[in-house]
Amino acid sequence: MEGEEFAVGCFLSIKTTLGDEFEAQIISFDTLSNILVLKEKSGPRWNIRLLKANYIKEFSLLRQGEDPLDVNKCFLDLTSLQAREESALRQADADSERFGVGVTSEAQILFDALSKTLPVHWDKTVIVVMNDVRVSSPYLPESVSGGTPAANERVKKVLEFERKRMQTCGTSL
């Protein structure tokens, strides 16, 4: 097992103890930390996985391959990394308003759907639409209250529609 894990460039099919299954190519394996660095996508951008080797339940070698990492092209621009981080943080800050705390994922999905076309925000676990209409748990059309009748109706409609959509498409989590 060790020998193959060391082989950079090999394509493996891996199953983890947590139930994850995937195929990836080895970029590196660090014995000290027991971390296997894997690459999952081709193209200029990679999907990277850092996997602790001790969680590998089983694996198999698919085929050999070349080293995906071209050492000559490895440059790091720290300033841009920092900038990226900062911008990501800003984004996340802005986003944080979107996530309800203590709400179910279903509620979150509904919130997200409503926010596409209506101004919404969280008030604890209540979705507040247009500052007027409130949708509380369990976020059914019956749970819609407040606001003008028109607004209320509208929110109800959107809610129903979204729920239907969720059923047909399945929720993604």
Partner: protein, 639 residues
């Protein structure tokens, strides 16, 4: 050492923070916290941090160049490198318990065993909930500003779309920049919703009417054996009133059909094989006219007519001049212009065509003509022009003022002329050098189009009597006659239809606007035309003078012509002319009214009858007021 945290505790983040702070001084494995520079400094060499690394790992070619910590193993280096690549990137961290956190990768303890620090982390899956419950009962928690995950706990870190090498970085940078901009899709957050249906290929229902004959709908369109009208009637009971012959020439089908068809094909082939100066036509016919490299894409593919000068040989200058001088025309050419007598349209009577003896005054403004004519218009238009309704007016040829631009593009006319009037101006005459286009005009773009390049020169003429003014007569269209000018009778037409030839091109040739006209014009064509074709100038910017047009003879009884573009009605127009539809010549004033205004105009009468449609609709495109007084301002057509 870093702080071990058990995050099963709700207060994890707080603990993290506190502990981290407390252990700040001793933390040597952690990346720098904000402001924690001193610590960082020490760790620089050893720890890859987003913020701290002041350049340890710079853009050198070596992998993880900043490492001095003694990790020889390149595999370790790679790990370090890749984790550095993750800084600032959103990642998912799976932990032992099955929970999944998502956040922004901030740092890792590369010195030790790579514990991970995330910022703005959220729990998105709770490992303690199993199965379906994990989804339905999952309750969100507040995001942690900073979350530390010990190495022992983490199972895997997943990062998507990571830029690893230089190529990836470049594109990423741009992407980042773009993401900062609040574009609509960002605002609508649609990217967060990737729930899409599984797409399935469409399978027709069982009871769909199968129409195999429609499958290859583009095959054999001629003999599809499918009558749309019949089908329509059957399906919907709609009775068709379509009669093909309403829209096209009735074909005589009889014993001679075969011959006729052959003849027709032959003629068609002839036409299609004709040489042309028009770029588009040439392309259609397979000729390559693109030797002139000035022709750019626009010229080749645009449908905007630009006077065709460029691609018609010899007409470039004209084009320019025409365009430039358009204004001049409009506003009165400085030079003699005014003497134009707008009435100079000689009636067609003069078989000698238009003579432009002296000044024809074509007013500059005379709306150039017809350029606007649409293609089809050409023929008809010209015809119309040619006809001078009743010209009984003394023929006056328009002399083209020197400045006069001939509005009519010679070539335009020539073309027609050429084809029809072969005799008239068969050969292209080399434009006299001193022809002044001066105001030439305006483009007859339309006309030009029609005229296939070849013969611009047609206009024979040159005989302008006035040498100097050889230039072009402005043709103003002053059709005086009833709209229909028949070409036939030499007498009648023309003057109006004389298009002044573009001086450049053709001095004096009378451009016959139409081939038909040609006949009549012939006589006139020679001389005279040049200066003026009084052809009613069509407003078009470029007047294309018909070298073969007949001399315009003013018809005292002719209906007056309303300048096409008259934004403001001159106050002295007292007749109320109802706004005419586009197809009619806008006539605004009666003959009498104009007299005073048109003082310089010799004829006491207005040229155009207010109500008579003088020209075919095609001609009116940009008509201008015929009588153009120098002081009068250009007025657009008032429709």
């Amino acid at each position: 050492m870093y702080v071990l945290i058990s995050w099963n505790n709700d207060k994890i983040e707080e603990m993290n923070m506190q502990q981290v702070v407390l252990s700040k001084s001793s933390a040597n494995g952690f990346g720098r916290r904000r402001g924690d520079r001193e610590v960082g400094a020490r760790l620089e060499n050893k720890v890859l941090l987003g913020k701290s690394n002041q350049g340890r790992i710079q853009t050198t070619g070596s992998l993880a160049g900043g490492k001095t910590g003694g990790y020889e193993s390149s595999s370790r280096d790679r790990l370090v490198y890749l984790t550095t690549c993750l800084i600032g990137h959103p990642v998912e961290v799976h932990v032992k318990s099955g929970s999944i956190y998502t956040g922004i990768f901030h740092a890792t303890d590369a010195e030790n065993d790579f514990g991970i620090i995330l910022k703005m982390a959220r729990l998105i899956k709770d490992g303690t909930l199993r199965g379906h419950k994990a989804i339905t009962e999952f309750v969100s928690k507040a995001p942690s500003k900073m979350l530390i995950i010990p190495a022992k706990e983490f199972v895997q870190v997943i990062a998507k779309d990571v830029a690893v090498t230089r190529d990836g970085f470049a594109s990423e940078l741009q992407l980042e920049k773009h993401q900062e901009i609040l574009i609509d899709s960002v605002i609508s957050q649609s990217r967060h919703f990737e729930v899409e249906r599984e797409l399935e290929p469409w399978v027709p229902d069982e009871d769909d009417p199968r129409c195999p004959e429609l499958e290859n709908i583009f095959d054999g369109t001629w003999n599809r054996n499918w009558d749309q009208f019949e089908t329509n009637q059957k399906l919907f009971g709609v009775k068709s009133t379509f009669n093909e012959e309403l829209y096209t020439t009735k074909l005589e089908r009889g014993p001679q059909t075969g011959e006729l068809e052959k003849e027709a094909t032959r003629i068609a082939r002839e036409i299609e094989g004709e040489e042309t100066g028009d770029l588009h036509l040439a392309e259609e016919r397979g000729f390559d006219l693109h030797d002139n490299l000035d022709i750019d894409e626009e010229m080749r593919f645009s449908s905007v007519y630009r006077g065709r000068g460029a691609d018609d040989s010899g007409y470039e200058e004209e084009e320019d001049i025409m365009l430039d001088s358009h204004n001049i025309e409009t506003f009165g050419d400085s030079s003699d212009s005014l003497s134009r007598k707008s009435v100079d349209f000689t009636c067609s009577q003069s078989s000698d065509g238009v003579r432009m003896p002296s000044s024809s005054s074509l007013v500059d403004e005379v709306p150039s003509f017809q350029a606007a004519i649409g293609a089809d218009a050409n023929d008809s238009g010209f015809n119309d022009q040619a006809r001078q309704p009743a010209c009984e007016l003394p023929s006056k040829s328009f002399s083209v003022s020197d400045s006069g631009a001939s509005r009519i593009e010679d070539n335009l006319l020539a073309e027609h002329g050429g084809s029809s009037d072969a005799n008239e101006f068969a050969e292209k005459q080399s434009p006299p050098e001193n022809l002044q286009l001066s105001n030439s005009v305006e483009s007859q773009s339309l006309l030009n189009d029609k005229i296939d390049g070849s013969d611009k020169a047609g206009p024979s003429a040159n005989h302008t009597t006035q040498a100097p003014s050889n230039s072009l007569s402005k043709v103003s269209e002053k059709p005086s006659s009833s709209g229909e000018l028949s070409e036939g009778p030499a007498s009648s037409n023309v003057t109006g239809k004389k298009y002044s030839v573009n001086s450049r091109g053709r001095p004096g040739s009378s451009t016959s606007s139409n081939s038909d006209r040609v006949g009549s014009v012939s006589a006139s064509s020679g001389p005279g035309l040049s200066p003026s074709s009084s052809m009613g100038s069509l407003s078009s910017e470029k007047s294309t003078l018909n070298p073969h047009a007949k001399e315009f003879k003013l018809n005292p009884n002719a209906k007056s012509f309303t300048p096409s573009q008259m934004p403001v009605r001159p106050p002295y127009y007292q007749t109320q002319v109802p706004p005419l539809p586009h197809t009619h010549m806008p006539v605004s004033f009666g003959p009498v009214l104009f007299n005073p205004q048109v003082a310089p105009i010799q004829s006491p009468q207005a040229y155009f009858h207010p109500n008579g449609p003088q020209y075919g609709q095609q001609m009116f495109l940009g008509q201008r007021q015929v009588y153009y007084q120098p002081e009068m301002q250009y007025k657009g057509r008032n429709y």
